[in-house]
Symmetry: C2
Subunit: 177 residues, 2 copies
């Protein structure tokens, strides 16, 4: 399956596209970081992110989208922007009628390294190894997005299929939302 | 000018459409509350909100959109959903290439009642009077969205025109974003 992972951020949003099956090394398709300027108007920043993610989804046609779940343990100012970026990221998948799954940072770390408290360097090191890359993906936002995609392939395959089936069933029956 | 005000929320999102000019009573065009179910998948909730707001913008063709700015003094769990809903609200205007302005709750209260610390009842009472309604708009989310639209007409007209001119100039010159 092909998964597009998104590490949401307003200033830097990591995107990673990976192909694979549960429990086996995965294949890197592409990775990106979408940047917006901190002094730019919020409406223009969100629109730029929205358009960029829509293009990447259209270009890579993933079967599902994995987005990092936002928590509030961070700086409060930062977390508001991250929450807004996560909404845009989730919408990018939802508007393309793809199943969207969110994962907490510790779920991703545990899936990739075996430890939910692993550091960034360890995650990047495992992503590099699991994708068979010569050197670590840079910047770190891209590595995190790739880790999300790998996590989804290994952990989420079943859940994504269930969600897709439920969505398809809802569409067929025209169930009110 | 016609303004669409949005009081963002994931469970209840208020939308109010108002016409008017600065300093004069305004005319109510319409108001709505978009609901999503708390136990529904986040991707489906955001998509439903996105589609509903896009329809309302297309239907009412406002000249600008006013959105309440999210702060973090609330419950942390709630605020994440509100931040996500606010991103969808801002995008609804930005994708329609409309100027989007955000206002803090105290800016709205001050514009409508003269006091930035006015209570909800006082805001609702003034919205009812300023729009010449027989009875208060219900539920309160709708009243707050109408208050935002009135606030924007009274306070934001100039700022919105400047932003629109800047956006148009950027489009003309193809300035990189």
């Amino acid at each position: 399956m092909r998964v597009l992972g998104i590490d949401p951020g307003l200033t830097r949003c990591g995107v990673g596209v990976v192909e694979g099956v549960p429990g086996r090394p995965c294949k890197l398709v592409a990775y990106y970081v979408v940047y917006t300027e901190a002094d730019e108007d919020i409406a223009l920043r969100l629109r730029h992110l929205d358009e960029s993610l829509a293009k990447l989804v259209a270009e890579h046609r993933p079967e599902s989208v994995a987005v990092e779940r936002v928590f509030s343990q961070h700086n409060v100012r930062t977390v508001m922007g991250t929450a807004q970026a996560s909404a845009v990221a989730i919408l990018a998948g939802a508007r393309a009628r793809l199943p969207v799954q969110t994962y907490t940072p510790s779920e991703v770390k545990a899936a990739i390294t075996g430890s939910g408290t692993a550091g960034k360097a360890q995650v990047t090191s495992m992503v590099t190894r699991l994708l068979g890359l010569d050197k670590p993906p840079r910047p770190a936002d891209a590595a995190d997005a790739l880790a999300l995609a790998i996590c989804h392939i290994w952990r989420g395959g079943t859940r994504a299929r269930i969600a897709a089936a439920a969505q398809a069933a809802a569409r067929r029956t025209g169930a009110p939302r």
